[in-house]
């Protein structure tokens, strides 16, 4: 097959993680090729809810989430574009005393790990931050220094900056087979072969293609979280809001539209790259939104959509080196919360590629946790 390109690094997948890894590798002076089977940002990275959230992270994710957050707050320095990033509190609302008690425990856990970003809100403070919240809400948990951004613009900005630094993107190009020739990886695609010393697998819901070729299959499930957006409403909410006892993610954009998600799932078909919405589920999303914010009862839905995302059985991603082959690194399976992690994880990947190691605590994310029985439980235990 004809040679398509040769580089130091080939990245499979043009989502935010692929673009971010490519950009950070280029910043370290490496030559990089990205292959993307559709178009950059076509999947999860271009259509997600845009939540930039440290709040409520799995303990293993907190360190990398905190690191990524620092990059978000000066995102324009990294990619020459503000990515539509708006600092805003992220708040998880408690609808019952029992939920508030659970949030209080959670706050203690995070403090115990040495982090200060999550704070418990009593009812008065919750009202102050969310004047439109329903009467029955008794308190909440907030991370004041979080925010949200515009997903497609973000991913595109990473691509553009990477391109400016010499990264070559091959879109509509599907990675197929992987073979090794001495120190060179040969990645065949439907448009030719790419040769590189290092391969980075950022294939999202499709990442198992590469993992399986390496003899370390990973149980990535393709899921389709669904979203709704309303027509413009008068301004009533400044924070990104979630619920504790039921799925909800909720924010009002600067233009007045309200974006509602929360993880209720439609039908994902990774073979055809399609999703179907399930309105039977979305009606529950609509109900929850109206119950937490009564003003929403008068809102109008203008559009719904879903995106294909890779989910791991333990809801945390795979990040780190292959356990079977040298010079292959994975970053996939972000389980519906990987947008916020994009800037940070890309930097960690580049560190791994360039130096072979990283200071970041990524052991819990090893792909090894899915190989063989014993290692699984050990690897998924939260790091304290």
């Amino acid at each position: 097959m004809a040679l398509l390109a040769r580089a130091d690094v080939v990245v499979v997948g043009g989502g935010l993680h692929g673009c971010s890894a490519a950009l950070h590798c280029a910043l370290r002076g490496l030559s990089v090729v990205v292959v993307e089977k559709n178009t950059v940002a076509r999947h999860a990275s271009g259509v997600n809810a845009g939540g930039v959230r440290r709040l409520g992270r799995h303990p293993a994710e907190i360190p990398i989430s905190v690191f990524s957050m620092k990059l978000w707050h000066r995102i324009a320095e990294l990619v020459d574009d503000d990515c539509g990033f708006q600092p805003a509190p992220q708040i998880k609302v408690a609808e019952t005393e029992a939920e508030l008690a659970a949030l209080s425990e959670r706050a203690a856990l995070v403090r115990g790990l040495g982090y200060e970003h999550e704070e418990l809100l009593d009812q008065a403070r919750l009202r102050e931050l969310l004047p439109a919240v329903a009467e029955h809400c008794v308190g909440g948990l907030a991370s004041m220094g979080d925010g949200y951004a515009v997903p497609y613009l973000t991913t595109f900005a990473f691509q553009r900056k990477a391109r400016a630094l010499g990264v070559r993107f091959f879109e509509e190009t599907r990675a197929q087979e992987l073979t090794r020739d001495g120190t060179v990886w040969r990645l065949s695609t439907d448009r030719g072969t790419v040769e590189a010393e290092t391969l980075v697998n950022c294939g999202g819901a499709w990442a198992n293609l590469v993992a399986a070729r390496l003899g370390e299959p990973a149980p990535v499930e393709a899921i389709a979280p669904m979203m709704l957006v309303t027509a413009r409403l008068p301004h009533f909410c400044d924070a990104v809001v979630g619920a504790t006892g039921r799925p909800l993610s909720f924010k009002q954009m600067p233009n007045g539209t309200v974006v509602i998600g929360g993880g209720r799932r439609g039908v994902a078909d990774p073979e055809t790259d399609r999703t179907d919405l399930r309105f039977a589920e979305l009606r529950l999303t609509a109900r929850t939104a109206a119950e937490v914010f009564p003003v929403m009862a008068g809102a109008t839905i203008v559009r719904g959509w879903a995106g294909i995302e890779g989910r791991m059985p333990d809801d945390i991603p795979v990040i780190g080196p292959s356990t079977t082959e040298e010079r292959v690194f994975h970053a996939f399976g972000f389980s519906a919360h990987g947008f916020q992690l994009g800037p940070g994880v890309g930097s960690i990947m580049a560190e791994l590629v360039a130096t072979g190691a990283t200071q970041a605590p990524i052991a819990p994310f090893s792909i090894g946790r899915f190989q063989g029985g014993g290692s699984l439980a050990a690897a998924t235990a939260p790091v304290h």
Partner: protein, 472 residues
């Protein structure tokens, strides 16, 4: 709620499809947004008073028989029902009387017809600017005609038909400003012999032009560089014709540049579409039973490509036969025989189309709007802003949504979709087919959140699970 065949749209195509399928014994449900059958062309056909019916002419009156046959067919009918989603399992989600419900169908006929092509030109979003189609609706449904002389501007048979109908109703337009370029007629003339095979059309067209001339309606031909003047309301239309700039005062201006298939539902269903150079728009790909690339989804009427009312009814029947065949509800040989006759009639009726398409191709001005002309009215995006996004790297309509929010407003891109695809294609120097169109997401029209919250899906209720605490 279940049915064998769900038909969406009660114009000639939908009425004919529903009638034929019900006569064959299928359980049919016909959904339509309007309160009564007829679609755009035969709007209010069952209730129109005799004088108005006479004024609208014999082609309009022909719709009465279609509506009557439908009423007698035993097909289920849901007037005032807005279909806001059809999923890949052919569940039809619709809103009627403020309540949303679901009907599970075994096959679907999409007969959602045509919409007027968007006409982005300077001032087209000012109050006082409307479309020829909108004026005709007022005339058919309520017998209303403009109090002040309207200026009709653009091109297409509907423009002339409306002019004639208004004239007969005693509200002759102040002027017709036609954008068909000089020389187009002779270029289109090569389609004339073929067009003569379609009975009646040309004679009717010429009669229409003569009637307008007799009535003394000023007719400006070969107009270019149209602009609607006015600060907060239309005051005049200016244009260049016959080598000089002209200006006609009016506070009511109706634009028209032909009609194109309403693609929203076929796009939602992810039917394959192909660009048509002749019709200058995307058409769903259909086979000779009018079945789309999605099995058991049929597209009849103008939604499958502009063919007019007669062809629409023929296509509707053909689609019904296709559905009968697919559902195993008819004897193959008899269906094939009936279909062959319908195809013959379609071929004949469609013979006039190449001439009309060549003659009334949309004007260059609206295909490449000036930089400061609004292209997406919902989100107020100009053609220039779109070109800038393309220069930055925006590769297609779906990405333009993220760059500019164009197509993200309440109309879901219905009004800007084609113009956006055209501008991006021209800017990138790629064919429209490559640039493609917006992906269309449900609901097709805005849906009250409270109505969604009370959505009745029958036996397939969603469970309370839903467990990624996230996607925050």
């Amino acid at each position: 709620m279940r049915c064998d065949l769900a038909v969406i749209g009660a114009g000639p195509a939908g009425l004919a499809a529903a009638t034929r399928a019900a006569e064959a014994g299928l359980a049919v449900e016909l959904f339509d947004e309007q309160p009564a059958p007829g679609g755009q062309i035969y709007r209010a056909i069952e209730t129109v008073p005799a004088p108005r019916r006479a004024l609208l002419g014999p082609d309009y009156a022909a719709g009465a028989a279609l509506a009557a046959a439908f009423r007698a067919s035993g097909a289920g009918y849901r007037p005032g029902a807005l279909v806001w989603n059809v999923d890949s399992q052919l569940n039809v989600d619709f809103s009627q009387d403020g309540r949303s419900r679901q009907c599970r169908a075994r096959a679907v006929v999409v007969a959602t017809g045509a919409i007027e092509r968007p006409t982005p030109l300077p001032g087209w979003t000012l109050p006082g600017v409307t479309t020829a189609g909108a004026l005709q609706i007022l005339l058919k449904a309520q017998g209303l005609v403009p109090a002040e002389g309207v200026v009709l501007a653009g091109s297409g048979p509907l423009l002339l038909l409306l002019a004639e109908q208004l004239t007969r109703a005693g509200a002759a337009p102040r002027a017709i400003v036609e954008t068909v370029p000089r020389g187009r007629l002779s270029a289109a003339a090569r389609h004339l012999p073929a067009a003569l095979r379609a009975p009646g059309y040309l004679a009717k067209g010429l009669a229409m032009l003569r009637a307008l001339k007799r009535a003394g309606v000023p007719f400006h031909r070969g107009a270019e560089a149209l602009a609607i003047e006015g600060a907060d309301h239309a005051e005049a239309l200016s244009f260049t014709a016959g080598g000089r700039r002209q200006r006609i005062e009016s506070r009511l201006i109706a634009l028209h540049q032909g009609v194109v298939p309403n693609q929203q539902m076929t796009r939602l269903l992810r039917c394959e579409h192909r660009w048509s150079d002749g019709q200058r728009c995307f058409l769903p790909v259909v086979d000779d039973w009018f079945e789309s690339s999605v099995e058991k989804v049929f597209v009849a009427g103008d939604g499958a490509g502009i063919g007019g009312a007669k062809s629409a009814a023929l296509r509707g029947r053909l689609a019904a036969l296709g559905a009968l065949r697919r559902l195993g509800a008819g004897e193959d040989k008899r269906l094939a025989g009936e279909a062959a006759a319908l195809r013959g009639a379609l071929d004949k009726d469609g013979a006039v189309r190449p001439l009309l398409e060549a003659l009334y191709a949309p004007s260059a001005q609206i295909l490449a709007p000036a930089d400061d002309t609004l292209i997406c009215r919902c989100e107020e995006v100009t053609a220039g802003a779109l070109r800038k996004a393309v220069a930055l790297g925006c590769p297609g309509p779906n990405q333009a949504k993220s760059f500019l929010r164009c197509g993200m407003g309440p109309c879901q891109g219905r009004l800007c979709g084609l113009a956006v695809s055209e501008v991006i294609a021209a800017e990138r120097g790629e064919p429209q087919q490559t640039i493609d169109y917006y992906r269309i997401r449900p609901p097709l029209k805005p849906l009250p959140l409270a109505e969604l919250a009370a959505f009745d899906v029958g036996d397939d209720a969603g469970d309370e699970a839903g467990d990624d605490q996230d996607a925050a």
